[in-house]
Symmetry: C2
Subunit: 181 residues, 2 copies
């Protein structure tokens, strides 16, 4: 946490992840690509499109939630986690005009973003990249890794989030499913 880690996701013809499906999403889609390459803290090669984000500090979770998530979660890069989902999200202006307590109430007290998804840990590993302050087209880039046997579990997780009150504020969302190439 010494400094936010800058990460670039490049869609194109090369990269460690093969795009195997593009799910229905909201708003303008991304151009179709064969592969996704991820560059962590280093210069990216060009591709058909590129999205940047940073791994930064926590914005909503309490100490108790951080400790619970840390104890229950898994890191990225597990050998058996050969499936992934890359879901860039943009929330609308109404969300960003809310004060911190209002966003927190929607995020957790009403949408159970943390408590409702704990049961998917450690099967589904996830990481959030912040992009809004970087002037990017999406506010967040979300990344999930799981084993092939946990595909249905992942559908349940993402379906639950999309049915939540928090998701009413999502105005653009792209959903790419990937496998290690």
């Amino acid at each position: 946490m010494a400094a936010p880690m800058h990460v670039e996701f490049v869609g194109g013809r090369t990269g460690a992840w093969r795009v195997v499906a593009v799910r229905p999403s909201a708003g303008e889609p991304l151009p179709a690509v064969e592969r996704l390459a991820i560059y962590e803290g280093r210069a990216a090669a060009p591709g058909d499109w590129s999205l940047c984000g940073v791994v930064s500090h926590q914005r909503y979770v309490t100490r108790a939630e951080v400790d619970t998530l840390t104890a229950a979660g898994a890191g990225l890069g597990r050998p058996q986690a050969t499936c992934a989902a890359f879901i860039p999200i943009k929330k609308n202006e109404a969300w960003w005009m809310l004060a911190q307590d209002e966003r927190r109430a929607i995020f957790e007290e009403r949408s159970r973003h943390v408590a409702g998804t704990l049961k998917y840990l450690p099967a589904i590993a996830r990481r959030l990249y912040h992009a809004r302050d970087l002037g990017q087209p999406f506010d967040f880039l979300t990344w999930f890794e799981f084993a092939p046997a946990d595909r249905e579990l992942f559908e349940e997780l993402v379906g639950g989030l999309r049915a939540s009150e928090e998701w009413r504020y999502v105005e653009r969302e792209v959903d790419l499913r990937l496998e290690r190439a």
Copy 2:
């Protein structure tokens, strides 16, 4: 709030603000300059140094606090506000490792960052620029504008903040005082 506004502060020989004093600060200082130029959402001319930030959404304040601050505060650019302070701040790793509720408790319940500074509104106009996620050397760029008659009032405001528990987490701070050129 449609998108965060990108702003660049350039220290050098040109700009609308003349540097009239550099106050004692913490950590590495910035090279001395004669003028400060501010570029809002447009390309900046080069200078001796440059710092970027974004006007972004609120991170700690509640709806009640937002409404109180909005009602009491003043905008930038008032003709009589010919004095300014530019105070870039970097907080330490311990701060950024805290969870949201821990940072909020230090920021307001214990340091009274909002409630304790309301009495300085509307005399002291202020704006916060976020810089941490941009990979900048400071986490925040803070900007204050006030009339010459309110110089002492500003010293009281900044002195109070520096005496707070929140400021124990500040590891680098530069304090430039300016006047409209």
